[in-house]
Amino acid sequence: MSSSSLSLEEVRRIAALARLRLAPEEEERFAGQLSAILAHVEQLKELDVSGVEPMTHALAAGEVPALREDAVLPGLSPEEALAAAPAREGTAFKVPRIIE
C-alpha cells in the first residue's frame, strides 16, 4: 500500500471508472474522507500475510456451492422484464445513441 492520501485528480479518475459524475464540492469532500478511511486501513500492513491463503468465498468448511441441473426453467416474460424499463422500443430496452 503506497500513500493513503488521495489527490483530486485520483478522485476524478476513480469517479470516471465508476461512471459517477461528482460535483466539485463532492470531489473535495471525498478526497478528504476517502483519505481518512484509507489511512485507517493502512493498519492491515502491520500483519505478515505471506503464505496466508485469501478467503475467496464465504462458505463454511465442507460446504460446496449447490449447482442446479442445467435445465430450462420458466423465467420472466418479455413484458414482465420490460415493465420497469425507463424507455423501451418493442421488446428492447432503449438507450441513447452509442455511436455518433
Binding site: 476513480i14 459517477l20 471525498f30 486501513v41 493502512e42 492491515l44 464465504a58 414482465e80 415493465a83
Partner: protein, 493 residues
Amino acid sequence: MTAPTQDLVRLGLREAGDAVGARRVSSRALVDAALARIEATDAKVGAFLAVTPERARAAADAADARAAAGARRSPIDGVPLALKDIFLTKGVPTTAGSRILEGYLPPYDATVVERLEAAGAVVVGKLNMDEFAMGSSNENSAYKPCHNPWDLSRTPGGSSGGSAAAVAARQVPGALGTDTGGSIREPAAFCGVVGVKPTYGRVSRYGVIAFASSLDQVGPLARSVGDAAVLLRTVAGHDPRDMTSSTRPVDDYLATLEGGAKGLRVGVPREWLEGGGVDPGVAGAVRSALDAYERLGARLVEISLPHSKYGIGAYYLIAPAEASSNLARYDGVRFGLRAKDARGLKEMYSESRERGFGPEPKRRIMLGTYALSAGYYDAYYLRAQKVRTLIRRDFDAAFERCDVIAGPVTPSVAFRLGERTDDPLKMYLADIFTITCNLAALPGLSVPCGLEAGSGLPVGLQLLGRPFDEATLFRAARALERELPALPAPPGV
C-alpha cells in the same frame, strides 16, 4: 373475537399465531391492530417506507378462512409482519432506501417473501433502511429519518433501523432484515429487541438487493428469542435459485430452545472488553449478563481473537469493493432512475448514478473502485481477503475451547441523530464488534441484556456461534432472557 388494539399489538409472534389457531383472535383483527398502531405511531417513528393495507387485509381474511377450515399452513399463519425494503416484493414498491429505485415495482418475490407467505404470514409493509443497507444509524435513508422508540432523538441503528424500530414500537411482532457488518444486530441492540444474523448460506438471498455478496445474510428481528427462532426457521433452508444457500437441513430450534445454559462454555474475548473503548454502562450490562450465565451453570472461558482489531480495515475494503461491483447494475437502462436529458450513453450512466445515489453509496462505490483498480488490487483487496482468513482462524481456534462467544454488540447505546453524520470513519468504527462475524461467515445474535444505568437505553449482548449452530445461540440467548428481567415497553411511543 375483538380485543383492544393495545392488547393485540403486544402479542408476540407465537402468541399471535396461537391465538389465531385457537380462534380466540382473528388474523384480520391482528392486522387491523397493527395497521392502526402504525397509523398512530409512525409519524414519530418513521419505520415504514410503504404500508400495504389492502393486500394485508385480503391476506388476513384468507388466513382466517384457513383457520376456520382447519387448514392452517403454519403456527404463524395470519400473523402480521414487515420487511426491510431490501426484499423484492412483486408489484409492491421496493427502494432499498434509495432514490435510484424510487417507484420500482419488482416483477418477482424474494424467496424469503415466498416462504413467509407460504407459511401464511401477512406482510403489512416495507421498512425504512440506510440506502442499499450502507450505514449504522438509518440516517442514510434517502426518504426519511427513522427514530428510536426508546428516545425519539436517537438513532434506531442501521441499516435495518426500520425493522428494529417497528418491532420495538409494537407496530409488528416480527420483521426481516439483512446484516452485512452488523445491520441486524446493532439496531436490535439499540432498540431492545432480538436480532439474528444467521450463518452465511443459511438463508436464501434470491430477490434480496445485493450490497456485499460475500457478507450479506438475511435474518429475523422479534421481541423474544423463541419468536426470532420461529421466524428464522420459516425462511431458512436451501434454495436452488441461490447457489450460496446451504443444503444442510435446518435445525428445529424450538426443540432445544429451553435446554438452559448448564455446562455451556461461554467464550469471552479478552480483546473486546479490555481497552475496546466500550462505554462503562454497556460494559456493566454485558458483565452482568456474563454473571447471569455463571449463575445458570455455564462456564466462562477467556479466549483471544487477536486479529479482530483488523476487522474494520478488512471490512471497509471488501464490502465497498463488492458494493462497487453490485451497484454497477444501476445504470438507468433496465430499471430505476434514468437521467432523461443525458446526451450519450456514458453521460446517461454517470448522470443517472449521480442523481440516484446518495452520499454513502457514492463514497463506498468510490472506495471499492479504488481498492479494485489496477495497481491497487493486491495491496488492498487481496490483502484484506488474507486478513479475513486470519480472522476466521481466530474463531476456529476459539471454538475449540468454547461453544458460544459472548460480548458487547456495540461500544455505546443508541447515539443521537446527527451526532456522527459528518464523520464516516467514526460511524464505521462503531461496527467493531459485529463485523468479524460477517467476515468469518458465522452466526451471530443480539439479545437485550438490560438498560444502561443513567440513560435507561437498552444494551444488547452479542452471542456468536459455530457455523450453522444457530440452535445453540438460541438456547443460550433464551437462558439469559429467562434469567434477566424483561425490558419495559419503550417510552418514546
